[in-house]
């Protein structure tokens, strides 16, 4: 077993003597006897480091990760290349092991990183105020709802069906608590139905929520759609993909009051969904309603430039039940990864990456659309992800591709039943033209195979796929 303690029997004896008790058990006597466990926890004995490593490496080996599969899955988290300096810097003890910077004099490194991160996110979104990061994307969107209620004193949200399903569901979960109504507006040709949106927004609406690119990959005209929010005095909240902000007009210049999103594409691992971070930017008007930590610039007693946590009077540890939010996490380490990644890409690299995504995505979309049995789900402009409809059960196609070492995309059916055989395909700088060609051929092959064995229509997974039900066949995925 492993111990991370240092107290020797002699230490213990000296410490107990200083306390004035005979044994450590005496210290636990303040727990009433019936509430003491009185038995060991029903957990295995502890292990040495090598054994724990083997155990967890064994579990890791039973997952088909993006190193062993070619990953075309996105849906909010993407297989980008994270430069080596991100790992080197984020693994430094000085960034990895401190707590929240409550003592600014010995936390200048972390606070300055927050300040630099806020500057970057503010510049990308075109909004003057950024916080230092929230948990992740969907809960950031729900926090925007809470802000909007406070700002407008209204209790009604209008949200596009193009917003990530996890964000919509999270908003609905939170809204039950703070007593708001959520109205959803559908899509038309892959884009938010502008007429339906205009009809849904009224003078009781606290916020209108859009996402661009939306969940189906389509680039929305935020400014045009947002007019309905402006007309009725509702806040316009725009969820965005940070990787596209090198080429897109910033949401702040399109009328957004709040721009937010999932930060994972910037410098963070896939990690089966977390930890990552959410970014959250707003107009100056909302600065005192912001959730989360915000670093601000100041001076020390000798006039040296320094950084502190600013506007703490918004926060739970001061304001308690009147706080603007209950969050006290900044995902500082994840935001550091993002900042280093952005610095590494730099002003021009970041834009070039956006262009690269747009071009490869355009190629992939065209290539897939030419495959027999594949049609585009919508014709709206896309930049890094697009949706297709398959003339075969999507689950069978995915299995067929998985057997060939490809994670072909994200099936839309669960969250968009109207697109039962819809597939969302994501492109990153790691996905080469050759890989895109292989994907197109694999999907085409799967569909052709399915039609050659037409009696499998009702089968969830085609039986022509050997081992498709077995557990993570590592070798077979190559």
């Amino acid at each position: 077993m492993t111990r991370y303690t240092s107290a020797t029997p002699d230490d213990r004896a000296e410490m107990l003597a200083a306390i004035g008790v005979d044994s450590a058990a005496d210290l636990f006597e303040q727990i009433p006897e019936p509430l003491r466990l009185g038995r060991p926890l029903a957990l295995p004995d502890g292990l040495g480091e090598a054994e724990v490593y083997e155990r967890l490496a064994g579990l890791a080996g039973r997952n088909a990760d993006a190193e062993e599969q070619v990953c075309f899955v996105g849906a909010g988290m993407y297989d980008h290349y994270v430069p080596a300096i991100v790992d080197a810097i984020t693994s430094r003890s000085e960034f990895l092991t401190p707590y929240t910077p409550y003592q600014p004099e010995i936390s200048q490194g972390g606070l300055q990183v927050m300040f630099e991160f806020q500057t970057a996110m503010s510049e990308l979104t075109g909004l003057p105020v950024s916080n230092a990061g929230l948990y992740e994307g969907p809960s950031s969107l729900a926090s925007a709802g809470y802000l909007a209620m406070g700002a407008t004193k209204r209790r009604r949200f209008v949200i596009s069906r193009g917003v990530h399903p996890h964000s919509r569901e999270t908003l609905a979960t939170y809204a039950v608590g703070y007593g708001a109504e959520v109205v959803e507006v559908g899509l038309e040709g892959g884009l938010t139905d502008a007429a339906a949106l205009a009809a849904a927004v009224d003078d009781e609406t606290a916020a209108v929520f859009l996402q661009s690119p939306n969940f189906l990959g389509a680039v929305e005209d935020v400014e045009a759609l947002g007019a309905a929010a402006k007309e009725h005095g509702a806040l316009l909240v725009v969820a965005c993909d940070p990787m596209t902000l090198g080429i897109f007009k910033p949401p702040g210049e399109q009328g957004a009051d709040i721009a937010l999103g999932e930060g994972q594409p910037l410098g963070n691992r896939l990690d089966f969904g977390g930890p990552s971070f959410g970014f959250f930017c707003a107009t100056q008007e909302q600065i005192r309603r912001m959730p989360g930590r915000i670093a601000g610039e100041t001076e020390d007693v000798d006039g040296r430039r320094g950084f502190v946590l600013a506007l703490q009077t918004r926060e739970q540890h001061i304001r308690r039940e009147k706080a603007t939010n209950n969050i006290c996490t900044a995902q500082a380490l994840n935001a550091l990864g993002a900042m280093v990644h952005l610095a590494w890409l730099g002003r021009h690299g970041f834009r070039e990456l956006g262009e690269l995504l747009a071009r490869r995505t355009a190629y992939a979309r065209e290539r897939l659309a030419a495959v027999e049995g594949v049609e585009l789900l919508h014709e709206a402009p896309v930049v890094r992800e697009f949706a297709v409809r398959l003339d075969a059960p999507v689950a069978a196609v995915l299995d067929h591709c998985a057997e060939r070492g490809i994670a072909a995309g994200y099936p839309l059916g669960r969250e968009y039943p109207e697109h039962e055989n819809g597939l969302l395909i994501a492109i990153t700088e790691r996905r080469s033209r050759e890989q895109i060609d292989v994907l197109a051929d694999a999907i085409g092959g799967a569909i052709a195979g399915f039609h050659a064995h037409g009696d499998f229509v009702s089968s969830e997974r085609g039986e022509f796929l050997p081992d498709s039900g077995s557990r993570s066949p590592q070798g077979a995925l190559r």
Binding site: P32, F95, G296, R347
Partner: protein, 508 residues
């Protein structure tokens, strides 16, 4: 001390990475597109495009590395010294956990991977759920909440769903006046009203006040939120009676797990009568704090709360053909409160905490808590002697659990030193100060949590430093009032940063 020379780090004034940027420099080399290089405006309507690239830094890789390495040295961290920040459980962060979290099978696993191809990840989550359930004494666990405060919100939404399912609407959540600030903030977000409960002379819930608050309107009591041991580091002996009062009124009992490190393997919230517990994996289960995140706040609940847990939920299915069990994500939970975030939660944190639990095992966890309690009581005893004993009395004099609270009130009166001054002077001695000015009911509070991973020598050195600071204050109180002197910057003007906030670097 006012004429003290600047240290080298103080001489080097802060410059942001944007201020080191110069046009024409860069680090990244991107791959060729390898596809037709169509003008962007042919792919995306030009009115949606950005006119100029965003003003990110232009800087080469060596200077990026140097910039952030220099910044890192302007941070104090747990690996460099004693960090007795009360209620934060600054215990050692094992590096093994970082190694296993970084394995590609974990770090590069897409969250939307088909569960059949993520069996290792789901088995790990299941194993962690089972372990946390046993430690908490509550059988059902959701790993989804991203932090303690997120777990609190989840717990209150679960309470609301539980009552709604019984056809009840309740409006009030009780919480002691000593509770963490997140508790009342979460209560408001969940649409409830906070009712404060007084603290008795032993640091526990004032039972008469609790009864009075319940009796005001028992049908409106939705929940009582407690930490036990409480924020004074004291175990509330009345917990069984508290539980029965709340349950009799029809409310749920919520356990803020911030202080779980005191009782692992010794006492379980579920056995105390709690219905819902959140666990801070970044406190008791060794996830590094990262300068403010990431963490995770899984919740464990009783049978009656289980139907309402967030979705999706990891489930285990036994094989019907003699094979091993398989794992899946259950999205079909009709009574669920729904999602609290995207995907399955902070899996990378789960890997680290599971590695920690496997490393320590049943007896190791119990020993960790025992040593945490021993260390706290020893440091308390050390600080009860000498000048500290006179200037910094213990707020409630009895054995503590894993942390304790001192009051700086006599120090302020006798020496003119505020708790803040003592905290700032500790920085010059190479220590992170305790949590200060919390809990609110103790004047000039210092909340000290040493954790089990500290040596007796560290505790002694800390007590010696406090003694020395108090001694020097007897002859020169200005010394502490103007501290710190040796840190990268000296005392900072926090008011200015709030009155006229500057929250981003100027860009050219």
């Amino acid at each position: 001390m006012s004429a003290i020379a600047e240290t080298p780090m103080q001489r080097e004034r802060a410059r942001t990475i944007y201020e080191k940027s110069k046009p024409g420099r860069r680090a990244a080399v991107l791959p060729d597109a390898g596809v037709p290089e169509a003008p962007l405006a042919e792919l995306i309507p030009s009115h949606l495009l950005r006119a100029e690239p965003p003003r990110l830094p232009e800087i080469a890789e060596p200077e990026i590395v140097r910039h952030y390495n220099k910044l890192s040295r302007r941070n104090f961290d747990l690996d460099s010294g004693f960090y007795p920040l009360g209620s934060c459980t600054m215990k050692h962060n094992p590096r093994l956990n970082e190694r296993v979290a970084a394995l590609p099978g974990h770090a590069r696993l897409h969250p939307a991977q088909d569960p059949r191809r993520a069996q290792g990840a789901l088995e790990l989550m299941w194993g962690l759920q089972q372990s946390l359930g046993e430690i908490c004494g509550l059988p059902h666990v959701s790993l989804q909440p991203s932090a303690g405060s997120h777990g609190e919100l989840a717990g209150l939404l679960l309470t609301r769903a539980y009552h709604a399912d019984r056809g009840e609407t309740r409006t009030k959540v009780l919480a002691p006046d000593t509770s963490h600030g997140t508790n009342p903030a979460s209560v408001t977000m969940a649409g409830y009203e906070v009712v404060k409960v007084a603290t008795n002379e032993r640091g526990g819930v004032e039972m008469d006040d609790l009864r009075a608050r319940i009796d005001e309107d028992p049908d409106q009591v939705a929940c009582l939120m407690l930490t036990n041991p409480n924020t004074l580091g004291l175990f509330d002996e009345n917990i069984a009676e508290i539980a029965s009062l709340i349950h009799a009124a029809g409310g749920t009992l919520y356990y803020d797990g911030a202080n779980l490190n005191a009782v692992m393997g010794h006492s379980r919230p579920g056995d105390m009568g709690f219905d819902i517990v959140h666990v801070n994996l970044h406190k008791s289960f060794s996830q590094p704090h990262g300068g403010g995140g990431p963490g995770a706040g899984p919740i464990a609940v009783s049978d009656r709360i289980e139907p309402f847990l967030p979705r999706p939920q990891v489930v285990r299915r036994e094989s019907d053909n003699g094979g091993g069990p398989s794992y899946d994500l259950d999205h079909e939970r009709p009574k669920s409160i729904g999602r609290l975030r995207g995907f399955q939660g902070n899996f990378g944190v789960f890997v680290r905490s599971y590695a920690y639990i496997l490393s320590l095992g049943a007896d190791g966890l119990a020993e960790a808590s025992e040593t945490a309690v021993l260390n706290a009581n020893y440091l308390k005893a050390r600080l009860a002697a000498g000048r500290a004993g006179a200037c910094l009395p213990i707020a409630f004099d009895r054995h503590c659990m894993h942390e304790f609270v001192l009051s700086g009130k006599p120090m302020k009166r006798e020496l003119g030193l505020a708790t803040l001054d003592l905290a700032k002077r500790l920085l010059d001695f190479g220590f992170h100060p305790p949590t200060v000015y919390f809990p609110l009911l103790v004047e000039e509070a210092l909340m000290i949590e040493p954790t089990e991973t500290e040596t007796k020598e560290s505790l002694d050195a800390f007590a010696d430093a406090i003694e020395r600071i108090l001694a020097e204050a007897e002859t020169d109180p200005e010394l502490a009032k103007n501290a710190p002197y040796t840190t990268p910057v000296r005392r900072l003007d926090e008011v200015k940063a709030t009155r006229r906030p500057v929250v981003r670097s100027e860009l050219r």
